[in-house]
Amino acid sequence: MSDILVKIRDLHFSRGTRKIFDGLSMDIPRQGVTAIMGPSGTGKTTLLKIIGGQLRPDQGTVEVDGLNVHKLSTKQLFELRKRMGMLFQSGALLTDLSVFENVAYPLREHTRLNEAMIRHLVLLKLNAVGLRGAAGFMPSELSGGMSRRAALARAIALDPMMIMYDEPFTGQDPISMGVLVSLVSELNSALKICSIVVSHDVPETLSISDYAHIISAGKVVESGDPESLRNSKSEWTRQFIHGVADGPVPFHYPAKPLLEDLYG
């Protein structure tokens, strides 16, 4: 049982003519919260989809728990996915099922447990995220934060070995944000799993991460634990981590000099 759960080597991926990943390599440890951060549009969601086998890289390998994801047969891939939980940005709850039914869905599909056991498990999972009282609601009746929590309960239904979070904190009010942040951290330590958080909410994400990778232009720019990233020597990393308005990523979109534009 190696220390590293997800091993990505020399990943190349393009969408149309745009090159999204250009020789990306990273290691994600088996236990702990690992953050993958970067500016919008760097393909962080795409990376999660590649790890989950939904997208195929043009080049390079992705290994999860020693298995090369893209060389698996469909059946083997489905078996692997049962051990992965994924929390989508929008929650992705099935809209025609109640919260309870949504969380029960993976249990009903993949296990042969009887109804009583399923009910116990579902209620326990919902309790872990604080939504046991909302079990009967339909997804359309939930607020954004609540539907993410419900989706989280669903993601842990099968007790996976890793959970991937796609921008979990984006657009949340302070209380929901606080709830989600503490949930990610507590679940990770309680279940002793690997949590991969893809985000660009730097303060929140770094506050719970054990390790972080920063991606830009299709490669890993810097990796390290939160403290070392905050004190990084790299200008680029400093601009990103501290949210500085002008730096390696310029404030002004490339244009003629101002005087020329006004009087030229």
Binding site: K49, G52, Q54, F78, E79, R81, K82, M84, M86, F88, Q89, S90, A92, L93, L94, T95, Y105, P106, E109, H110, A151, R154
Partner: protein
């Protein structure tokens, strides 16, 4: 001026290739859907639910439309035949028109507009809200759970609906011909009994409606699955479903009629 012409031709070429490419990906999609169909019968409740939303909910439109179409046919046939003293043949005319053509075709057009667009919208919305992705990541095959049941429901519902349409149409025609216009009810029923053939007319009509069902269901689920996952993309997809289905129905109707009813 010449270069503009070249550009137009080039554009036409690009569009044509894009059409073929889309047709190809749609065909591959159809094969995947058909391959997932046997899996649906493992969990028939999905199919039943779709039969309800696709079939039962289209029933009202079909019954009302069938009634009015039958009534209009009776009126028009009467006006056409009464000059020849052949008004007793109204029953035959209506029955043949409904069973051979109007039943399958009008039902299919209404079905494409109501149920087809609804299927596209449902699947497209599930794609846009990442529910399909979510299912994949939960190791559930969205083809089997979402697409195939809807496809099968469309294929099964069409012949059922077309039969009901024709039957209601004949009844509507009866109401108009016998009650309203005063034709002899015996003649109304007995002439078709001679002229309308069980195999040639009734069965062929059903075969037509099955073919239409496959085509409409195919287009509807494909457009939904393939749509651009934004609200505009969804709107475009549902429009495409209705337009393409309607054109395909009319074209296939011609082909099938030529094959089936040629002497």
């Amino acid at each position: 001026m010449f270069s503009r012409l070249i550009n137009k031709i080039q554009h036409l070429g690009v569009v044509t290739i894009a059409v073929f490419q889309r047709l190809g990906s749609a065909s591959v999609f159809l094969l995947e859907v058909v391959a997932s169909c046997p899996g649906v019968f493992v969990k028939p409740s999905l199919l039943i639910k779709q039969l309800y939303s696709v079939g039962v909910q289209t029933l009202i439109i079909i019954v009302v439309a069938g009634l009015f179409v039958g009534m209009v046919m009776a009126l028009q046939s009467y006006y056409a035949l009464v000059d020849f003293g052949a008004e007793d043949s109204v029953g035959v005319m209506v029955a043949l028109s409904l069973l051979r053509e109007l039943g399958p075709v009008v039902t299919a057009l209404l079905f494409a507009g109501r149920a087809g667009s609804a299927l596209t919208a449902e699947i497209g919305l599930m794609k846009a809200t990442e529910q399909l992705s979510g299912m994949e990541m939960m190791a559930v095959n969205p083809m089997q759970r979402v697409v195939a049941p809807r496809f099968l429901a469309g294929v099964f519902s069409m012949p059922l609906l077309a039969t009901i349409f024709s039957a209601v149409g004949v009844l509507g025609a009866y109401l108009v011909a016998v009650e309203l216009l005063g034709l002899d009810s015996g003649a109304f029923w007995s002439q078709p009994q001679d002229k309308v053939d069980l195999y040639l007319d009734l069965y062929n009509g059903i075969i037509k409606s099955v073919v239409f069902g496959v085509v409409v269901a195919w287009i509807a689920v494909f457009e939904g699955y393939d749509c651009i996952p934004t609200s505009e993309g969804l709107g475009q997809a549902t429009t495409r479903t209705v337009v393409h289905s309607s054109l395909a129905i009319l074209f296939l109707d011609f082909v099938l009629t030529a094959l089936m009813f040629a002497k």
